[in-house]
Each structure stands twice: as structure tokens, then as C-alpha cells.
């Protein structure tokens, strides 16, 4: 009987303790909020992780009551769609310029308008950039993380080994072809490679080349846009690719590079030239420890054509649509701290640069202004003492890019347009007898179907 009474007492005490703990937790919940945020791509170096964690610690110190949980994140079409459907994205995640508006129109992103408009610098945003994160109703659904212009990245060591001048990268596509041929002949390494995987990247790079020749992939906007994938410039770009692949044999033997694969190959020193975003150096350092001395970047060669231009894009940060008010407020604070302030606040810019340098991360990677050129230039002076990227090797790119004709990605059904082009690029690279015109007509038909359906 005595033991029964003891058990009953113990149960009662345990119950009370549990009740108190629950009450305490509920109490603390009212004044604190936890958000998960996209951090680095999986496989990033420990130094990069340390740098990110330092930023989180600084933010939490400045914002008591907000707990930030970093989550490794890499945007890829298939995983993003799956996570979106499964509601397993972090509270704050990143999306490309191409997707934010449509996701916002579909109600798949949270409305940030009331919080974003309270940011002191909101009106300073480059109108073209903030428009990428504004849906059809005028609601701000994403804030810019970074903008890039497509660029030609080249291996300076291979250039030198092939007898080319690393300070004079090619300025025309004919030179690109000739240099690629020479690199392959002298070094045995592929002179020029392209992303050519069925994950929309092949179409993205082909579109970049077509823009540089003066072509466009669509006209008009929305579901009434017209797909023009089979224009003469696309045919010209594909024929050039065909010649490099089958006539010059200067593209190596791998024709299924994804975005990550091609960066890895470049960092490993096995690739002469490739096209990707101007901000790729960060990934080359964080994920692949590239040797800075081999890195060179040049503007995309432009044809003598008034429509020729450089494809520009970027990344935005957005919030899950099911976030509550406290999470939304905390998320915008984080986005402001992590993405925006380093570019507009001197204190934050210097603190950010110091953290990056302390963790051996790149400072001064070429990017396009999120606000305006004047603010961009000022921000560059703040971080000048901390710039640790090989800025002299980036001179060919930095000299002319701000005066180039920057053209946004195709507006209607961007990813579907790229996807339709993927197969054409793959066909050209893997079958000598590919009928380019016929394949482009089929791709145009597929893209048009997607555009009409708003897919």
C-alpha cells in the first residue's frame, strides 16, 4: 500500500513538472520565434560553414528572440518542386529570377509587402531587380539576393600552356572556337565545354549564346507569348557548337555536364572555357577549392548586332506561404541582414567582409548591382581592403560589363523553354547527323504548348 502511494506521488510530481515545463515553453514561445534558413549548398567546405554560422550568431545577438536554424540548400528544379509540394522547404529559401513571379502568382510564396516596404532602403532597389520578386497583383513575394551577368570563365593556366595570352581572352565566338581548338591540340584537355544535361541548364546556356548573337527565344509576354526558338541565331549557335564538337573535336568526351559537374571540372583544371554566371567564383571556392591562379573571367563575346546582349539573371530569397506573422517578420529581418545590408550599410558590409575573410571565403566576386551603380561603387570602396579574389584576373570582365546591353531571361515559362532546348543541345553534341532545324521546330512546338498553358 505504501509503495502504491509512493508511485502515485511520483506520478503526480512528474505531471506537475511536465505541466510547468509546457507552460514555460508556451510562455517563451510568445516572445521568441524560430526560422529555418537556406544556408550553403551541400558539400561546402567547413570554412564556408563556419563563416555562415558566424553570420547566424551575429544576427541572433542583434535580434534576441529570433532563433535561426541553417539548412543546407541547393535550388534544383526537381527537388524544389518536390519540397514545395511536401512543404519541407526552409522558412527562407532561394529561387531564381525566372520563377519567383509565377510562384507568387500561384500563391506558392508568402506576401512580404508590409514587411519589405518598412525597410528603409526599399525604394532604393533597382526597379528591374525588385520587379523580378513582385507578382501580378503588385505584392512583393521575394527580395533580391544577387544578380549576375553571364560570363566566359577560362583557365589561365591552360591558356598559357596552349601558347595563348591569359590576359587577352577571346572577344568573338570565332576566337572562342579557335582558342578552344588550340587548347585541345596543345594540352589534350577540352578547350570549351557546355552544360548539356536534361535539367534546363543546356537550354540556359544556349539561350545565352543566342542572345549574344542577337536572337531571342520568345516575343510578347505571359500566356500569349510566342516561342521563337527556331530563329536563325539559334541555328547559328547550334551549328557553331556542332563544328566545335564534330569538326574541331575540342569539347572533350563528356556531354552531360550539370551546373555542379562543370564547376567541379573547371576547378580541377580540366576545362579550358565555359559559360556560366559571373558570380560562380564563390561556388568554385566554397565547394571545389579552386586554385585562384587559374581563374579568369571575360565578358560573353557579342556579335556586331544591335540586338546582341548579355543574358542577366539572379537569385531571390522568398518565404514559405504557411509562415505565420512572427516568422514572416523574423524572415524579412534575416533577409535584410544576410542579403541586402552588406550591399547598402557600411557597418554591415565591413562586418560581412571581415567574417568572410576570417573564414577564407571570397570577397569581391563580380556581380551586378541590386540597387544602383552609384551605391554599388560606394559599397565596393567599403570592402576594398578585404577583397581577396584575384581582381586583376577579373579585369577583362569588370572593365566592360556595366556598359553591356543586359537582357533578362525569357519571361514566359522560362524553365519550360530551357527544357525544350535541352534535348536539342544534347542531340547536337551526341549525334553528328542531327537535323538542327527539325529538332528546333519540335522544341518550339513544345515550348509554345508550355507557354500557352502557363507551365
Amino acid at each position: 500500500m505504501k509503495s502504491l502511494r509512493r508511485i502515485a506521488t511520483a506520478v503526480a510530481v512528474a505531471g506537475l513538472v511536465a505541466l510547468c515545463a509546457t507552460a514555460a515553453a508556451l510562455g517563451s514561445r510568445s516572445s521568441s520565434v524560430t526560422i529555418s534558413v537556406a544556408s550553403l549548398i551541400p558539400g561546402s567546405t567547413q570554412a564556408a560553414v563556419n563563416q555562415f554560422n558566424s553570420q547566424v550568431a551575429q544576427f541572433e545577438k542583434a535580434n534576441p528572440g529570433i532563433t535561426v536554424k541553417p539548412v543546407e540548400y541547393q535550388w534544383t528544379g526537381p527537388t524544389f518542386a518536390a519540397k514545395l509540394a511536401a512543404r519541407t522547404l526552409p522558412t527562407v529559401f532561394e529561387v531564381p529570377f525566372t520563377d519567383a513571379r509565377t510562384l507568387g502568382d500561384n500563391g506558392q510564396l508568402a506576401d512580404l509587402t508590409p514587411y519589405a516596404q518598412k525597410l528603409s532602403y526599399f525604394k532604393e532597389f533597382n526597379p528591374a531587380v525588385i520587379a523580378e520578386g513582385t507578382d501580378a497583383k503588385g505584392q512583393v513575394v521575394a527580395l533580391p539576393k544577387g544578380a549576375y551577368a553571364q560570363a566566359l570563365h577560362y583557365n589561365r593556366a591552360l591558356f598559357a600552356e596552349a601558347g595563348l595570352n591569359p590576359n587577352k581572352p577571346p572577344t568573338t565566338w570565332a576566337q572562342v572556337r579557335a582558342d578552344a581548338k588550340q587548347i585541345t591540340a596543345r594540352t589534350g584537355k577540352p578547350g570549351y565545354v557546355e552544360m548539356a544535361k536534361d535539367d534546363n541548364t543546356a537550354g540556359w546556356i544556349l539561350t545565352t549564346v543566342v542572345y549574344s548573337l542577337g536572337g531571342r527565344m520568345e516575343t510578347g509576354s505571359g500566356t500569349s507569348a510566342k516561342a521563337t526558338l527556331d530563329n536563325k541565331y539559334t541555328i547559328q549557335a547550334l551549328n557553331m557548337l556542332k563544328a566545335m564538337r564534330w569538326t574541331d573535336n575540342s569539347m572533350g568526351s563528356n556531354f552531360s555536364y550539370s551546373w555542379g559537374d562543370i564547376n567541379q571540372a573547371f576547378a580541377a583544371g580540366t576545362v579550358g572555357m565555359y559559360v556560366s554566371g559571373s558570380d560562380i567564383y564563390t561556388n568554385l571556392v566554397q565547394a571545389y577549392n579552386v586554385n585562384p591562379s587559374i581563374y579568369g573571367i571575360a565578358p560573353i563575346p557579342l556579335a556586331h548586332n544591335k540586338n546582341a546582349g548579355v543574358l542577366g539573371g539572379g537569385t531571390l530569397a522568398a518565404v514559405r506561404p504557411d509562415a505565420n506573422k512572427a516568422q514572416l517578420a523574423a524572415a524579412v529581418k534575416w533577409m535584410s541582414f544576410f542579403y541586402e545590408e552588406p550591399q547598402i550599410s557600411k557597418t554591415q558590409a565591413i562586418r560581412n567582409a571581415q567574417t568572410l575573410v576570417a573564414n577564407k571565403q571570397p570577397v569581391g566576386v563580380p556581380a551586378l548591382p541590386l540597387f544602383n551603380k552609384r551605391l554599388y561603387d560606394i559599397s565596393q570602396t567599403w570592402i576594398k581592403p578585404y577583397i581577396n579574389v584575384p581582381i586583376a584576373q577579373m579585369k577583362p570582365f569588370l572593365t566592360g560589363i556595366f556598359s553591356e546591353n543586359l537582357i533578362p531571361e525569357p519571361e514566359a515559362s522560362t524553365q519550360s523553354v530551357y527544357h525544350a532546348l535541352d534535348a536539342v543541345v544534347e542531340a547536337v553534341l551526341t549525334n553528328k547527323d542531327t537535323n538542327v532545324v527539325q529538332m528546333l521546330q519540335q522544341a518550339t512546338s513544345e515550348a509554345q504548348q508550355a507557354i500557352s498553358q502557363g507551365a
Binding site: 535550388w75 534544383t76 528544379g77 526537381p78 527537388t79 524544389f80 518542386a81 518536390a82 514545395l84 509540394a85 529561387v95 520563377d99 509565377t102 510562384l103 500561384n106 500563391g107 506558392q108 548539356a196 544535361k197 536534361d198 535539367d199 572533350g252 568526351s253 563528356n254 556531354f255 552531360s256 506561404p321 524553365q415 519550360s416 527544357h419 535541352d422 534535348a423 536539342v424 544534347e426 542531340a427 553534341l429 551526341t430 549525334n431 542531327t434 529538332m439 519540335q442 512546338s445 513544345e446 507551365a455
Partner: protein
């Protein structure tokens, strides 16, 4: 005997005195084991219901809807089925799947049988051969594919190309060519899956009556004639089952094209299941889950009908 002993008690309590028919009451139902049957059945019903039947019902419902799983779904009737039917990639995927199944049938089906027959002839250390044959099955599929991707390096320094280069062959493009990609997938798939079938055949071979071999030897039959006239007829039932399993398996091939080539180059390895995946997850704006489920149902119905016809057509043969 036990039943006879119980009968009087049953008659006394459970039978209606007037009709002689046992009267079922909750008590008799419980005592007859009804309750325990239900208790044992509930977990099974729950597991099948939650993980099998409910998803099937949801698939049927979703195939008639348009949804991105965030906004409310809208009913679209058979529009998803029509869209799949008119998709230019649909015939490509069907053709590729049939090609994969055909190649797997020609090369992948006889190899395990030949291996099993040869291994059954081995007198010593048969276990080692069985283990070696089964080893690829226990290697995680993703690891195996990564390993083979390395082997399939299309440069002249790739593993396969180096080995073939020793005898003056190659280099071959393997996964980097529209012509070579699908046979390359079948080669890896055969290596990865043959072991399980070998084990089934080895087990079945132990059931073959040894007297038949002895009789065949007395009649002067060599090994090939013994296999043809004794082994194969004795394995008929197992062979028919493994054939239909292989056809169903290859019709649903996904792992190899997804991990090796993502359906490329130029859709040359795009299979039906990969097309379903692309419908659901290929678009970063939120997949076309309606079309994905519609094509899944079309495939399921086709395979069910095919299996039915196959089983009816081979019923007499397998029961002979």
C-alpha cells in the same frame, strides 16, 4: 476426435432448438475467435489502407484534377489523359521503354539461367559462386550506378575504354551517345539484377529429379541436350514467373535512366517512369501532378491487362 468432444456443448448453447440452425450471438462470435481475427486484421487493414489503397484512390482522383498541391485542386475530367496521349514525348518514352525491355529480355533473361545451370554443375565451392553472383544485388543501387558511371567514362582513359583499348577496340562513347546509352544502361542493369534471379534458378534446380539426368545420360545425351530436354522443362513454371516479373520490372525502369543520363542524350533514354517523374517534378514551378498520375494509371492498367493475358495464355503450358 476433438471436434466430436466439443459438439455436445455447441449443440446445447448455439443451436436453435426449433430449427437446429446454430444461432449466432456476439458471445458465440467472440468465443469462435471472431474478435481476435478482427484484432489481428486491424493493423493489416491500416497498413494496406494507409500505404497502398489510399494512395491508389488518391492517384485515381488526382488524375482527374489539376493541382499544384498548394492551391485547391480543380476537376478537369479526362484532360490529363488526353494531354499525355498527345504529348510528343509519350511515344518516345514508350518506344524507349520497350527497347530497354527488349534488350533486357534478349541479354538479361538468359544470362542468369545459364549462370545458374553452370553453377549447379560445379561440385566444389558452389557457395562462393553463389555469393559472387549475388554480390551486385547487395550493393546499394546508387553506389553501383556511380561506380558504373566511372567505368563508362567516354574518354580514352575511361576504365572500359582502357581495357578494350588493350585489344584494339574503342574508345566508345557509352552514355554520351544516343545509340550507345540504352545498351549501356541494360548492361549495368543486368549486372545489378541477375544475382537475385540466379538464386531463384539455383533453388529451382535442386528440385529437378536427378534420375532424369541419369536416364538422359544412359540414352547418350550430352550437357546441352540434358539442359534442353530435362532442365528447361522442369523449370518451366519458374521460368514463366521470372519472365513476367522481368517484363513488369523493365516496364517500370527508372533508376538507371534517372541516375545515369536523366533521360538523355536527347531523350534517347527517357522511359515511361522517368516521364512520369518529369511531369511531377520536372517543372520547378510545381509539377503537373495530374498528368503524372494519369500516365501512372495508364501504365498500371496496361501492365494489369498484359499480366492477365500472359497468365491466361501460359496457364496450360505452366500446369503441364
Amino acid at each position: 476426435m476433438l471436434d466430436q468432444l466439443r459438439e455436445p456443448a455447441f449443440t446445447k448453447r448455439g443451436l436453435s432448438r426449433r430449427s437446429g440452425v446454430p444461432r449466432r450471438t456476439p458471445i458465440t462470435w467472440v468465443r469462435g475467435g471472431g474478435l481476435s481475427t478482427v484484432v489481428f486484421l486491424i493493423p493489416l487493414l491500416f497498413v494496406f489502407g494507409a500505404f497502398s489503397w489510399y494512395p491508389i484512390v488518391r492517384t485515381v482522383v488526382m488524375s482527374l484534377q489539376h493541382t499544384n498541391l498548394v492551391q485547391p485542386a480543380t476537376w478537369v475530367g479526362f484532360a490529363n489523359f488526353k494531354a499525355v496521349w498527345h504529348d510528343p514525348l509519350f511515344p518516345v518514352a514508350v518506344k524507349n521503354t520497350a527497347y530497354f525491355a527488349g534488350l533486357a529480355l534478349v541479354f538479361g533473361y538468359p544470362i542468369p539461367l545459364i549462370a545458374a545451370v553452370l553453377m549447379s554443375e560445379v561440385r566444389k565451392r558452389r557457395g562462393i559462386f553463389s555469393a559472387l553472383a549475388y554480390l551486385p544485388v547487395v550493393i546499394p543501387p546508387v553506389v553501383a550506378v556511380l561506380l558504373w558511371k566511372f567505368f563508362y567514362d567516354a574518354s580514352s582513359t575511361g576504365v572500359f575504354n582502357t581495357v578494350l583499348g588493350w585489344v584494339g577496340l574503342g574508345p566508345y562513347p557509352w552514355l554520351q551517345s544516343q545509340q550507345w546509352a540504352m545498351p549501356s544502361l541494360v548492361l549495368e542493369s543486368t549486372w545489378a539484377n541477375a544475382g537475385a534471379t540466379v538464386i531463384i534458378y539455383l533453388a529451382a534446380l535442386t528440385g529437378v529429379q536427378t534420375e532424369l539426368y541419369e536416364a538422359a545420360s544412359v540414352d547418350g545425351a550430352g550437357i546441352l541436350r540434358k539442359v534442353w530436354h530435362v532442365t528447361l522443362p522442369q523449370l518451366r513454371g519458374v521460368l514463366l514467373v521470372t519472365l513476367i516479373l522481368q517484363i513488369i520490372g523493365t516496364a517500370q525502369v527508372f533508376l538507371e535512366p534517372y541516375l545515369f543520363t536523366s533521360g538523355g542524350p536527347a531523350n534517347s533514354t527517357l522511359t515511361v517512369l522517368l516521364l512520369i517523374f518529369n511531369y511531377a517534378f520536372g517543372n520547378s514551378l510545381g509539377g503537373d501532378y495530374g498528368k503524372a498520375t494519369a500516365l501512372s494509371l495508364m501504365l498500371a492498367v496496361f501492365l494489369a491487362l498484359f499480366s492477365l493475358i500472359y497468365l491466361r495464355a501460359t496457364r496450360s503450358w505452366s500446369s503441364r
